[in-house]
């Protein structure tokens, strides 16, 4: 079992062939477009396109399922808060007054605390827009990172003028997370091997158990990081950018095309939004 490997794709695709710099640019442009668009239909379409690209690139469906499952409580919270409380924001964006909102749920004004409040269709649509933005940003990072070898990533970042120390810390962090999860699992396993029956426990007790592993996890990780530090220093690592690299990072035609296309996409989205109102929140409310 590979305990320390980062999630990577086995399949060769256009994404694995690209240099990390166009992927970095792609992450930036798609995130910007996601930010620009307020229309949940366009935002959702963008999220769907990124999700399909992830699957096409070979990112495991299990990983995407996990991301979606983790986002569910967040999404529910956003829908509730925006649905109930985004009245002023929606009025600002659309000019529509609260009395004109389409209410999905309305509490009678006689009810204590929540009396008079309501869940509006407009608020829910705005919440869906936020959910789509979040999903797009999460998945586009996975698409860029999981389709790149970590060492190639470091070279790409350095070429993009990121200081080597920061690039190395970034790559070390990516390597570190799977290790951390493996350790957490091992600690829980060790507790089960000492008779701890997680099976019959309620959610709160389980959460207390999980919370208790934080201290040993941090201590154990500190020991590991100290050992890693010893190894790195023994290999003459001092964090300086003044070093050589085994691998070259040269932008090829495909990389330039990718940069051009994603740049055009961002420009088109920005102009479309500013000049023609494409992607504005009001669009989704028009009959």
């Amino acid at each position: 079992m590979n305990a320390i490997a980062l999630q990577t794709v086995d399949r060769r695709s256009v994404f694995t062939r690209l240099d990390f710099r166009p992927k970095l640019f792609m992450m930036f442009t798609i995130t910007m477009v996601a930010f620009i668009w307020e229309d949940p239909r366009l935002g959702g379409g963008l999220a769907l396109a990124v999700l399909l690209s992830c699957l096409a690139a070979g990112i495991r469906a299990g990983y995407i399922r996990t991301v979606l499952a983790l986002m569910l409580p967040f999404s529910a919270l956003v829908i509730l808060t925006q649905g109930f409380f985004s009245t002023t924001l929606i009025t600002t964006l659309t000019g529509r007054q609260p009395d004109d909102f389409r209410m999905l749920i309305a509490f009678p004004s006689t009810w204590p605390l929540v009396g008079g409040a309501g869940l509006s269709w407009e608020g829910v649509l705005y919440a869906l827009n936020i959910v789509a933005k979040s999903l797009t940003m999460t998945l586009v990072i996975a698409l860029g990172v999981f389709t790149t070898d970590i060492d190639a990533m470091v070279v790409g970042l350095v070429k993009a003028r990121v200081p080597y120390k920061i690039a190395f810390v970034f790559s070390a962090t990516l390597r570190f997370f799977p290790l951390l999860f493996a350790k957490a699992q091992a600690i829980i396993e060790a507790q089960r091997l000492r008779g701890l029956a997680l099976e019959g426990m309620g959610l709160l007790r389980r959460l207390r158990i999980y919370a208790r592993i934080v201290v040993p996890l941090i201590l154990s990780s500190l020991i590991d990081s100290q050992m890693l530090d010893v190894v790195l220093q023994s290999r003459a690592f001092n964090g300086s950018s003044d070093r050589t690299y085994l691998h070259r990072s040269r932008l090829k035609a495909a990389d330039w095309i990718a940069i051009g296309l994603t740049g055009l996409f961002l420009a088109a989205a920005a102009i479309g939004y500013a000049v023609f109102g494409i992607g504005r929140f009001g669009g989704v409310l028009r009959p």
Binding site: A190, L193, V231, T244
Partner: protein, 578 residues
């Protein structure tokens, strides 16, 4: 007079937040091209000394440092670690913690990149060093795809690429199977002979050190207590045994022969020397084979653990086990052995439902494991997994041991009694209030064992319990397994340290090629070198000597230990030999 690569002048060192010196007044000169072995019990200061060669101690750790260390003419206090890395390569105990890259070639290149070696030169050096450690053709492989021995050789290649004049290795073979360990020793010996690289190696591998080292340095409590060629140092058997230092089986065999009145002018330290020394004895005395030679192991009643046609494939598609059938009965002492990655741990994890069979069935006390929970199984089978550090989660040793007991609903008096018994059995009473992670690795492993034993399970499984232990620590654990076995418990030990198991196990399950290669009494299995070689194991040195004697005499000599071998020569005409 040969040139000196490293000099220690009256070096003493105290770690931060410690009152006891880790090293005391060390003075030492290491000539260029020497192969120096560091031996000593755990805590003797071997690792601290090793980390001084490139300035990690004290530059990284801090603490109080006295005296001076120079390596390749550079004072290790005055020159940064990154400069010293040009001259000194360090390989540590755990190959897993030394991997920093995602491919073999990147791993080798990392140090060179830091040393600003030009790209073309890096490209030229990679195949050369990989060839030197016999990893050629694996440039694009992910280091995690390599075996333990290969990973350790990769770590050597990574430091070798910088062309150091001094290679320091701290317990590089303790986690490797015997063939992997042999490969590492062969590699560094070749580097020493062909490239003239000075080697300093801290190791408990007595037999390999006896064959490879020019000089041994015996450390105890931070001091050099002896030094000299291996045959001189290992000849002081009583002193080394007092310090709990492992000796080559050959040396112990002849030591016992000497004590039985045979004339042994010089104690041999290698198998070759042993074979030469045994022949004159054999001309004067016929060795007698052991009286008991059981062909089978006694098994009564229904099995406690039953494995039927078990196969397991991991989610990533790796098939770890293929069609294994095995019964383990109550009261047995079973050794499960095989190369790194043979599937030993995968097999026993099925006993506790930590893994579920892809095909086949595992039952414990007649019940299929999928119908039980891990926590329920853990009360019947105590499992001590490999890495102690991920099994420690409490703030004191005592809390670690009592964790499980609180889930059993025992009274506080009973919990205290069991805790004290477990701590005493593992020699941990004195550190009951310490944080477990503040203890040395050997003691950390014993904390986990104490925590499992406190549950008083019917069967105990110890997965590589002797890794990182010195001779005393290993014997303490194994002696305890013997006591448990005598008390009627079922004991299963997973290890490839075969030399330690001859006094303990009755039955050996040999695993390799993802399946069960042999299930036989220890006296049978240990004397099948071809079978063991299939799974990268080698019989203990005493067994190899016994086989050589059997070859000479034409009589089967299924001995396992130096003592047994020596006793074979006590009968007959020993009187005339003194």
């Amino acid at each position: 007079m040969p040139q000196t690569i490293a000099t220690f002048s009256n070096v003493s060192y105290v770690y931060p937040r410690s009152d006891t010196p880790a090293l005391r007044d060390i003075s030492l000169e290491i000539p260029k091209g020497e192969f120096l072995g560091l031996i000593g019990p755990n805590g003797a200061g071997k690792t601290t000394l090793s980390l001084m060669f490139n300035g990690i101690v004290p530059q990284f750790y801090g603490g109080r440092f006295f005296g001076a260390v120079t390596v390749a003419g550079l004072d290790t206090l005055e020159h940064p670690i990154s400069s010293l890395a040009r001259h000194v390569g360090i390989v540590l105990e755990n190959p897993e913690t030394q991997i920093t890259a995602t491919s073999v070639e990147n791993e080798v290149a990392f140090g060179l990149e830091n040393l600003k070696v030009p790209r073309d030169e890096i490209r030229a050096r990679i195949p050369r060093v990989l060839e030197a450690v016999r990893l050629e053709g694996m440039e694009r492989r992910h280091p995690q795809e390599l075996s333990g021995g290969q990973k350790q050789r990769l770590a050597i290649a990574a430091v070798l690429a910088a062309r150091p004049s001094l290679l320091v290795l701290d317990e590089p073979t303790s986690q490797l199977d015997p063939v992997g360990a042999r490969e590492v020793f062969d590699t560094i010996l070749e580097l020493n002979h062909t490239l003239g690289i000075t080697i300093v190696i801290a190791s408990h591998a007595a037999e390999e050190l006896a064959e490879c080292a020019d000089r041994l340095l015996l450390l105890a409590a931070g001091e050099i207590v002896d030094e000299g060629p291996p045959d001189e140092v290992y000849a002081q058997v009583e002193r080394l045994e007092e310090l709990h230092i492992r000796l080559p089986d050959i040396t112990r065999t002849f030591y016992f022969l000497r004590r039985r009145g045979f004339s042994v002018p010089e104690l041999p330290v290698t198998l070759t020397q042993g074979l030469a020394a045994i022949r004159p004895l054999m001309t004067r005395c016929d060795p007698t084979p052991p009286e008991a030679n059981p062909a089978t192991v006694r098994r009564d009643g229904d099995p406690l653990i039953s494995v039927t046609h078990l196969s397991h494939t991991y989610p990533n598609g790796t098939q770890a086990l293929c069609d294994i059938s095995l019964d383990i009965h109550r009261g047995e002492y079973v050794l499960i052995t095989g190369q790194n990655g043979a599937g030993k741990s995968t097999l026993v994890r099925h006993f506790l439902r930590l893994l579920l069979p892809t095909a086949g069935e595992v039952t414990v006390d007649g019940e299929a494991t999928p119908d039980l929970t891990t926590s329920a199984l853990a009360r019947c089978i105590g499992y001590v997994a490999q890495n102690p550090d991920v099994q420690i989660f409490s703030s004191t040793v005592e809390k670690e041991v009592t964790f499980a007991l609180h889930h059993l609903g025992l009274s506080s008096d009973k919990i205290q009694t069991r805790c004290q018994e477990s701590l005493a059995a593992m020699g941990l009473l004195a550190v009951a209030d310490r944080h477990p992670l503040s203890l040395p690795r050997g003691e950390r492993a014993r904390v986990v064992i104490a925590a499992i034993l406190a549950l008083e399970p019917e069967a105990v499984i110890l997965d590589e319990p002797t890794t990182g232990q010195d001779e005393q620590g290993a014997r303490l654990i194994l002696d305890l397994t013997k006591q448990l076995h005598s008390a009627g418990k079922t004991v299963i030990v997973i290890t490839h340290h075969l030399h330690l198991m001859a006094d303990y196990a009755e039955r050996v399950v040999v695993m390799g090629e993802r399946t069960l290669l042999r299930d036989a009494p220890i006296r049978v299995a240990f004397h099948e070198p071809n079978l063991l070689a299939k799974t990268y194991l080698a019989p203990p040195q005493a067994v190899r000597l016994a086989q050589a004697i059997a070859h000479e005499t034409g009589v089967a000599m299924p001995f396992l230990t130096p003592m047994e071998l020596a006793r074979a020569f006590t009968k007959g005409t020993a009187a005339g030999n003194s």
